[in-house]
């Protein structure tokens, strides 16, 4: 029963992080990508939407465990999870 957690604000990380479970994944979009400027030490895969990263001048500056995602990856992530939780703050 895996959940994709989508964050569109960095501050939402505090709400989301304690609720991450096995099989879950995190996708940072819009201002959510700023969350990846700090180390994010969790066991689940973390992706950041590349266009939003580029727009904010954060390319190459994200935590090492954060992978970039394209819009196609975004769709694939949504499809491969049972549900999507959007965290906004």
């Amino acid at each position: 029963m895996a959940t994709l957690h989508v964050l569109n604000k960095a501050a939402a990380w505090t709400d989301c992080e304690p609720l991450l479970g096995p099989g879950d994944a995190v996708l940072l979009i819009e201002d959510g990508v700023y969350a990846a400027r700090q180390p994010l030490s969790v066991d689940v895969p973390i992706r950041a939407l590349d266009p939003d990263v580029q727009a904010r001048g954060l390319s190459g500056q994200l935590a090492p465990n954060v992978e970039l995602a394209s819009f196609d990856d975004f769709v694939a992530l949504v499809v491969s999870h049972d549900r999507v939780v959007t965290w906004s703050q």
């Binding site: 029963m1 304690p18 609720l19 049972d82 549900r83 999507v84 939780v85 906004s88």
Partner: protein, 118 residues
């Protein structure tokens, strides 16, 4: 086929229209015969405080409106226990009977949903 929908309510009332708009969505979802529950987190817990009077700022009183949820068929009223602890709030501060959930409990109810929405 009814969907299980959980609304995450994490905004304080009155400072913006977010809390009221989210609450309207909850009411509509319940009227469409969906299995609706709500989870108050963070600043959203302030929506539950007793003694609110929105009229003082020309707005509707969110705390009073929340009292209508059971009759609209919203069965699950959950509160993030760590948020409550951080804000120094206990069940006695709330205008409705709610179920406090720790992080494990919240993960469990999220995993029971078809849709989780902010």
């Amino acid at each position: 086929m009814a969907k299980r929908i959980l609304f995450l309510l994490n905004r304080a009332p009155y400072g913006s229209s977010y809390a009221l708009e989210a609450l309207e969505s909850v009411l509509v979802a319940a009227l469409f015969d969906q299995q609706v529950s709500v989870l108050f987190k963070g600043a959203g817990l302030h929506q539950l405080l007793k003694g609110q009077d929105g009229a003082a700022v020309g707005q509707r009183t969110v705390g009073k409106m929340l009292g209508a949820l059971p009759e609209y068929g919203v069965a699950g009223l959950f509160v993030c226990a760590p948020s409550a602890a951080r804000l120094g709030l206990t069940e006695g501060d709330f205008c409705l009977p709610v179920t406090l959930l720790d992080h494990d409990g919240q993960r469990r109810i999220i995993n029971e949903q078809d849709i989780v929405t902010g």
